[in-house]
Amino acid sequence: MSAATAVLVLLTIGTYAFKSAGPLFVGARPLPPRVQNLVDLLPAALLAALVAVSTFGVGESLVVDARAAGMVVAALALWRRVPFVIVIILASATTALVRLIA
């Protein structure tokens, strides 16, 4: 079994357990505020880390290359509330352009 298949199987079980726990077992009881707080913050932490590493990481080293330029444009576009498709097109085009020039 490949690594990807293993992750696929584990995450299928895990995410399904999370999704169904509420409707199946917990019912309408609210989470304790501390837990709820953590649940609200975790995605911000992990997504920010993934953004940072996927922008600057090449294996175990950090570089500032054409991807960073694309991401700056993506951030500006998101800030201006541009639709997602356009964000992706602008970011990719910027990266391509910087590569072409460099």
Binding site: A4, T12, P23, L24, L31, P43, A44, A49, M71, A93
Partner: protein
């Protein structure tokens, strides 16, 4: 309806990213059909693509998926019925379906809104994943020439963006990003992502420590 259509480009980018990472067709389809949670799928594929281990890809995915636990609890009163029905309905517990369900006036409409949105997103998400995979697999040169290797990170940024609305979230995100970058040169891929969860501590700083700079 537009909320359903909005997922299409995300799914195409996911399919393309999965192809780039070297996932097989069925693995890619499996992620969208069975895991079916955007940020969880993106995180797992990103970490696997960087050469991360099964454990770090899985744990990062689970940490991102844990919020569907909170969604499911919000929705529990709406999703009544026999256990097998509740089990089937929980697969489409998503940001989009919860958002549409939550704003409906009556419980019946809430359920209807949740289910229609959830099923709509499910169908479109899977079709577009296949499109992304098929179009971009084996096109490594095209992907680099068109700058599409930025599409995955940009999609992650778009997922992050709505979670930066409050100051504690922003502090968490900045701290997490710095932790991950600082750890990257010293650790196997994926581990820095997991350690970034301690960035949450930045949200819990007492107010007196927050502004050390003179203004």
């Amino acid at each position: 309806m537009s909320i359903v259509l909005a997922v299409a480009p995300f799914a195409i980018v996911f399919g393309a990213a999965a192809a780039r990472t070297g996932l097989t067709f069925w693995e890619t389809v499996g992620f969208s059909a069975f895991v079916f949670a955007g940020s969880v799928q993106f995180a797992a594929v990103q970490i696997l693509g960087d050469g991360g281990s099964v454990a770090s890809a899985t744990i990062a995915g689970l940490l991102l998926g844990v919020r569907s636990l909170a969604f499911g609890i919000i929705l529990a009163p709406v999703l009544a019925g026999p256990w097998w029905k509740r089990m089937a309905m929980s697969q489409v517990v998503l940001d989009e379906s919860i958002a549409v369900g939550a704003v409906q006036p009556t419980r019946r409409w809430q359920r209807y809104g949740f289910l229609v949105t959830g099923v709509g997103v499910y169908v479109l998400w899977n079709i577009c994943t296949i499109v992304g995979f098929v179009v971009f697999s084996g096109a490594e040169e095209l992907v680099t020439d068109l700058g599409l290797d930025t599409a995955g990170p940009a999609a992650l940024l778009a997922l992050l963006w709505p979670r930066l609305s409050s100051p504690p979230q922003r502090r968490t995100a900045i701290a997490a990003g710095l932790i991950a970058l600082a750890c990257t040169p010293f650790m196997p891929a994926g581990v820095p992502i997991l350690l970034s969860m301690f960035g949450v501590a930045a949200a819990l700083l007492p107010p007196s420590l927050r502004r050390t700079r003179p203004t």
